[in-house]
């Protein structure tokens, strides 16, 4: 019994420590954050939205932004099942349409577009130089699952190019594809232009010619279940503002 108590005490101490590490974790504490804004955003928006959420918090001292990144289709499913969220930014208009049709979001606006690029490990072990190389059986390719926007757009690219690519794995979202590439476990992955840029030296990019490339449009909308609809709208406005556009463009997004 005494040992059990010791273990429990240690676990408790650990969680308290962890809590201190992450600073102003809960709303309404000494830091005076009394509004928590929960933003569900596509995995490809990880870097830009993290930066913009920081700006938003600087401008609105009383607001704490919580970001939840993942595959757009998965986030939409979570929203549909009643996950508490205030803003949804999707990597495809189709996913957003479903959420709007279900009555969970209103006033969706497009804020960015993103096209595809091939990512290879820095040393490009399979010597991938053009899009057609991905169709070679010896080249190990990672793609997103077909139900995720990045998988959908990649399929569109292959269709335009008239090639069939047999992936070795279909990852749950675009960041998972990028990880498999940067670890060198696959020879190439098809990801967004912005992901190649964000990964820096971890991967190198092989451009897809414009006539074969395809892109996806990113819509954003406040959610109807939001408890802070005004703050949610403010956040959407920031993303659509000049400052927001600048951050997005710097990361490689294009504006619609």
């Amino acid at each position: 019994m005494r040992r059990l108590t010791t273990v429990l005490a240690a676990l408790l101490a650990l969680s308290v420590l962890a809590g201190c590490g992450s600073g102003d974790d809960d709303g309404g504490d000494a830091t005076g954050k009394d509004v928590t804004l929960r933003v569900f955003a596509a995995a490809s928006l990880t870097e830009t939205f993290t930066e913009l959420a920081g700006e938003f918090e600087d401008d609105n001292r009383s607001v704490k932004v919580e970001l939840n990144f993942g595959p757009s289709s998965g986030l939409a499913e979570q929203i549909g099942s009643g996950a508490p969220a205030d803003v949804f930014a999707s990597a495809s208009t189709g996913t957003m349409k479903d959420v709007v049709a279900a009555g969970d979001a209103e006033g969706s606006r497009d804020f960015a577009t993103n096209s595809m690029e091939i990512a290879t490990p820095p040393d490009n072990p399979a010597g991938v130089k053009v899009l057609d190389d991905l169709a070679k059986p010896a080249v190990k390719v990672a793609l997103c699952q077909p139900q995720v926007p990045c998988g959908e757009v990649a399929a569109e690219v292959f269709e335009k190019a008239g090639i069939t690519v047999e992936p070795v794995t279909e990852e749950v979202d675009v960041k998972a594809v990028l990880t498999k590439v940067s670890l060198g476990e696959v020879d190439a992955g098809v990801v967004y232009v912005t992901d190649v840029l964000a990964a820096g030296k971890d991967v190198s990019g092989v451009e897809i010619p414009a006539d074969k490339n395809a892109s996806t449009t990113y819509p954003i909308a406040p959610l109807t279940a939001s408890e802070n609809p005004e703050v949610a709208l403010d956040f959407v406005e920031l993303i659509l503002s000049e400052a927001g556009t600048e951050v997005l463009q710097e990361a490689g997004f294009e504006t619609p």
Partner: protein
Amino acid sequence: MTRPRRTPWPLGTLAFVGALFLVLPLFGLLLRAPWSDLPEILVRPEVRDALVLSLVCASAATVISLVLGVPLAWVLARSAVPGLRLVRSLVTLPLVLPPVVGGVALLLVLGRRGLVGQYLDLWFGITIPFTTAAVVLAETFVAMPFLVIAVEGAFRSADQGYDEAAATLGASRLTVFRRVTLPLIRPALVAGSVLCWARALGEFGATITFAGNLQGVTRTMPLAVYGAMETDPDAALAMSLVLLLVSVVVLFALRGRWVGQGGVS
């Protein structure tokens, strides 16, 4: 042991809440299940692929766990090698380790650029990730400790007098192990195997991290359930039902073996 006549009400209330919490989600699953579409969903090629792959990989993982885990359990229980306690802690670590961490570790060791994996690739041209073998390895890594723990306990508590008697009668040590020790611990062996198999069947984190996700190659039932949840919740529910059914069967198998045939508990 006699039961006290009345349960104190705080205990009773908390027990009721606890039981409700564990049972309610399962009822939810049964209630929401697409019963009428069930036959149609379960024969879809992607569902059948996932089911077959899951059964094959979990069984293979159990066989490997038996071949390697039983000797390991014997050494842990009976031999006098120094540092054994440390070894026991290390090999049972996957019991409490988050499986996704196991997947990352496997990738860093057996991946194409991994500690060992790079030489497998360089010398033999073998790459493990994204193959069915990778699924089996991931499942073995996560599930084998369950078998080792169950069997080690049995080796420890089994009466060694029989082993000694057989040895006095001239049986070699390996024969004693095979003909006397193993039959003695059979209930634990069966229970451990079933537990190990069930754990392997449900494996998700290590599999998706180390083996990837591709229909017919690495997409086992849990991965298929996770993927289907985003686009086709009915299919996810149907597959969850199958896994629930398997779990119930496993539980009954364990009840019969573990509690029934006396000695090992």
